[in-house]
Amino acid sequence: MRIAAFLPELLRHLFKKPATVDYPFQKLAVPKDFRGTPYLRPELCIVCKACERDCPAEAIEITDVDPAEKRFKMIIHNDRCIHCAQCVDSCPTTPKAMQIDSLYEIATDDRHKLKAEWVFARAVMKPKASAPAAPAAPAA
């Protein structure tokens, strides 16, 4: 037993630089697998709706715009998104139509500003890429 056994450690830390960084001026690097905000590459989307079905937060919404021309609208409600990146895992196309970025400062003062929207024509799978995941239930 020794009185103030912690004291040498405390004194040593007087001469160390702080463990924190000066945040708004200095930023930490984001890890390689960071899950930021999901976004769509409309030219690759085959509208299989796998992302809409698997999203745990029901943040993805795909609707018909013009069934005759096979035009669709996708809305990602980023205010609901829990950033799990399951949509990226579920996406069957190669390269993936659903992607995730590495932005982390996405706060706004209004949740409606977080909505992202794409109107696009359904992509047709190229014959060589269609082998593993054949058109999985295209939208009626």
Binding site: P31, F34, A85
Partner: protein, 400 residues
């Protein structure tokens, strides 16, 4: 003359809402009563309306500290139902994250214990060191708190050589720091005097009240799901169960520091012996009808998920028994004969996670207005007695 002191649902000593009612005589607590239900979220009902995949992220959000524990427990159970065998590499990465999470949870708890005992510099240093393991988890999975590394049939992120060497480096630093804390715990007289003899729970009572995790092991019972019912990779690893015989808060500190050192050992073994191959096997969308119980040793104790499948892509029932819930009866026992000033310390020593545990049923007797918190086993016994007496339904049809 005895008084009743209410603590909570909102109280500076409690981080989450729970109500403790102490009956005191002078400074000594003669009786304690715990009231739950301030944080009920309807999670189990919600799980019945989500698919197997969606529920991974839901169960992960049961708790913020042991998020991986709940997700792993759930995924283990669903894999059993789907008769799915994840590849070895996937399992190694999954349980590597488990052990890293245990390290972060125990370091956090050590800080909280130091804070409750009035040793705030200890709290700040353990939390600074916890950043090392948080950074490792962020590097492996991409995020700090909800790792989302589990998926049905394996994991979602792979490890490369650079990450492996960073993990080993981080663990070496952490081991040095933990050994230092162990030494501080043993030599700092004021800290030891504050926590020794507080919150006594004898071995017999700990077993009788079904305590779990470090609370049970601090009462001298070497019980650990990782050793007794080794799932997946734990039977290939060399580790010991950390126990203490002092039956008090000091013992719980010692057990957690010992577990830290065991976890470092396991992490090193897993990183060095990481097998090659795939990290994930393809999972079906539906599970066959059946039921399973999945057990997992979370940092706070044994975590149990009961999963029932009805053949569709959604579970019929998901029941979560979080370790904190199992420790409540023991907490009441620990609080008795203690002092009012020890309440935060004793309560913190079970590492309570209220939001995990909020799924009991409180029964209010209509005649006397008396409330009683009922355990699942009691409810089941009552249900069995009730169905035994009920008339046989001749025209009931199996719905599936």
């Amino acid at each position: 003359m005895s008084f009743q002191i209410p603590i909570g649902p909102q109280h500076p000593a409690l981080k989450e809402p729970i109500s403790l009612r102490m009956t005191v005589e002078g400074e000594v607590i003669t009786d304690a009563d715990i009231r739950l239900g301030y944080n009920h979220r309807g999670l189990e009902k919600l799980a019945e309306e989500r698919t197997w995949i969606q529920n991974i992220y839901l169960t992960e959000r049961i708790c913020g500290i042991c998020s991986h524990s709940h997700a792993t427990c759930y995924v283990q159970g669903v894999e059993k139902l789907m008769e799915l065998t994840p590849p070895r590499r996937g399992l190694y990465i999954r349980y590597l994250v488990s052990e890293l999470e245990r390290v972060h949870s125990h370091l956090l708890w050590l800080g909280v214990a130091g804070h409750e005992a009035g040793f705030d510099s200890f709290f700040m240093y353990t939390w600074r060191d916890r950043e090392i393991v948080m950074d490792l988890l962020e590097m492996i999975s991409g995020n700090r708190v909800h790792y989302a590394i589990n998926t049905l049939g394996g994991v979602r992120r792979d490890l490369d050589e650079g990450q492996k060497s960073k993990i080993l480096e981080g663990v070496a630093t952490l081991r040095k720091r933990s050994e230092y804390y162990f030494r501080i715990g043993a030599t700092e007289p004021s800290f030891v005097a504050r926590i020794a003899g507080v919150g006594m729970l004898s071995k017999e009572r700990a077993i009788a009240l079904c305590a779990v995790g470090p609370v049970l092991r601090a009462s001298g019972v070497a019980r650990d799901v990782r050793k007794e019912d080794p799932c997946a990779v734990y039977d290939e690893l060399d580790f010991n169960i950390g126990t203490a015989d002092s039956c008090d808060v000091l013992g719980r500190v010692v057990v957690r520091v010992k577990e830290l050192l065991e976890s470092y050992k396991m992490i090193e073994q897993m990183v060095k012996g990481l097998p090659d191959g795939d990290i994930v096997a393809k999972a079906p969308r539906k599970a066959k009808p059946g039921e399973t119980v999945s057990r997992y040793e979370a940092p706070r104790g044994e975590n149990i998920h009961y999963i029932q499948a009805n053949g569709s892509d959604k579970p019929e029932r998901l029941k979560v028994r979080a370790p904190t819930l199992a420790n409540y009866p023991a907490t009441v026992e620990m609080l008795r004969k203690g002092f009012i000033a020890d309440i935060p310390l004793i309560f913190a020593a079970i590492d309570p996670c209220i939001c995990c545990a909020e799924r009991t049923v409180t029964l209010v007797s209509a005649r006397s207005g008396e409330e009683s918190v009922v355990r699942m086993s009691d409810l089941r016994r009552r249900a069995l007695a009730r169905s035994g007496n009920a008339p046989v339904k001749g025209n009931a049809v199996w719905p599936f």
